[in-house]
């Protein structure tokens, strides 16, 4: 595979941005709060380095399998990040509220079905089955991720659950990028590799440029400290706790009468 100057530039830019983002995550002590996101970025650095050396010193077969092994890890970790961000929004008391858990599970299942149907409709014109699977796989993951992020926003607004600054910024970045990815991966599926190599390359460049913008946004957002929360006075906290215990006792009486859906 021949790399142009632009390819090399984008590759280097993404690597530098990931390293800066990792530094910001650790410097701002955000890494322990977002362990899966930090792991995803670390794997991205590793992937860039490994793929670069595989491309220069390995065969195209080795490059393909290395690329796809990292691709699967990347998708699994992105799903993990969706869970990490969701649990920060939907578990304000440390446990999933029963109504939220059920709604989120339903939305996730619907998202998988929609993404699968759209992927099934795609028939990218390619010379090899392998490349067709690559294009379909990319399309499926971007459709799924974009749906999950929109579902997270919709559910949190419906339930009236607020977003802390850093969580909101990370989700915004992922959400906007994955919606654009549906567009670029849709174009990949339409043009394939035979209809126009130039078009395929152009769309790939646009996707990587968007990703670089998204990483730059995360660096900017995480470099800014989250506002320090004010503490409720201890006496007030105690009074509220006592009152809440009375409410809980009352509701326990309710539950004795019949199950709450």
């Amino acid at each position: 595979m021949h790399l142009t100057g632009l390819d090399l530039f984008l590759w280097a830019l993404a690597l530098i941005e990931h390293i800066v983002l990792l530094a910001v995550l650790w410097y701002r002590r955000a890494a322990p709060r977002f362990p899966l996101f930090t792991a995803l970025i670390t794997v991205s650095v590793l992937r860039t380095v490994v793929l670069y050396f595989t491309l220069r010193h390995g065969s195209s077969e080795q490059y393909f399998y290395t690329f796809w092994s990292f691709g699967f890890v990347d998708l699994a970790m992105q799903l993990g990040v969706v869970y990490e961000l969701s649990s920060r929004v939907f578990r304000p008391l440390g446990a999933w509220a029963p109504d939220v858990r059920r709604s989120f599970a339903v939305l996730a299942a619907v998202s998988v079905v929609i993404a699968a149907v759209l992927t099934w409709l795609a028939s990218p014109p390619t010379r090899t089955l392998r490349l067709a699977i690559v294009i379909r796989g990319n399309f499926f993951s971007s459709a799924l991720m974009s749906e999950l992020f929109v579902a997270m926003v919709a559910l949190s607004v419906t339930m009236g659950l607020p977003w802390r600054t850093h969580v909101a910024r990370l989700a915004q970045g992922f959400g906007v990028y994955s919606i654009f990815c549906v567009l670029t991966e849709g174009a990949h599926s339409y043009f394939g590799s035979t209809r126009g190599k130039q078009m395929y390359t152009l769309v790939s460049h646009i996707r990587i440029e968007l990703y670089c913008l998204c990483v730059a946004y995360w660096i900017w957002a995480l470099a800014r400290p989250e506002p320090e929360p004010r503490q409720l006075p201890e006496q007030l906290r105690l009074e509220l706790r006592t009152l809440q215990r009375r409410v809980a006792a009352l509701l326990q009486g309710f539950r004795g009468m019949g199950s709450v859906r």
Binding site: P92, L93, A97, D99, I114, V117, L118, L121, A122, S123, A143, S146, E147, V150, V153, A154, S156, V157, T158, M159, G160, L161, P162, R164, G175, I179, V182, L183, G186, S189, Y190, P227, P229, R230, Q231, L232, P233, Q235, L236, E239, L240, L243, Q244, R246, V247, L250, L251, G253, F254, M257, G258, V260, R261
Partner: protein, 178 residues
């Protein structure tokens, strides 16, 4: 041409996704800009003294039988309309607890607890509404109504304590409204 169904499906999918995202982001922005007066304006009129009497009849008589009979409670709360107003106020109480997060982000805990309380109250009021439509209201009423009113009363108390203790602007208005 073979790609036409795919292209159409992706176009519809993208439009729907962007529309849903814009709608919910706009809704969240609108909610975050809600002013205190708008929140107060959403509260339905409920006779707080009668709510207190009904609630305390249950809360202070935990050991003995409550003194108020179901017909009396039904009349005092304003029938199903009164319960409906209470149900709507539950949402406003949650928003009011969320409003406090401007000063105290950890008030999130209170608004989440109120949300869970409100969810249960609403479910029971829904059962009463269903019973009312089927003509069995008075069989179901004693079981659910007074506990729902008492829970609502405790929710309002939680909110008042939060506003007073946290020195949140608007406490006097809230006291008057609840």
């Amino acid at each position: 041409m073979t790609q036409l169904p795919f292209l159409s499906a992706v176009a519809v999918f993208l439009l729907a996704l962007v529309a849903v995202a814009i709608y919910f982001v706009a809704r969240a922005r609108r909610a975050s800009r809600t002013t205190w007066m708008e929140l107060l304006g959403r509260l339905k009129q409920i006779d707080r003294d009668k709510v207190a009497v009904i609630a305390l009849d249950l809360l202070e008589e935990q050991e003995a039988e409550p003194a108020l009979d179901p017909e009396m409670i039904f009349e005092m709360i304003g029938g199903m309309d009164g319960l409906g107003a209470m149900e709507q106020n539950c949402d406003v109480l949650i928003d009011m607890a969320a409003y406090v997060q401007q000063w105290y982000p950890e008030a999130l805990e209170i608004s989440e607890e109120l949300r869970l309380n409100a969810r249960e109250i609403k479910w029971h009021i829904g059962r009463l509404r269903g019973a009312s439509e089927r003509g069995h209201l008075f069989e179901q009423f004693p079981m659910y109504a007074q506990r729902a009113v008492a829970t609502y009363y405790l929710m309002t108390r939680s909110l008042l304590i939060l506003y007073e203790g946290g020195h949140i602007p608007g406490f006097t208005d809230l006291q008057r409204a609840l």
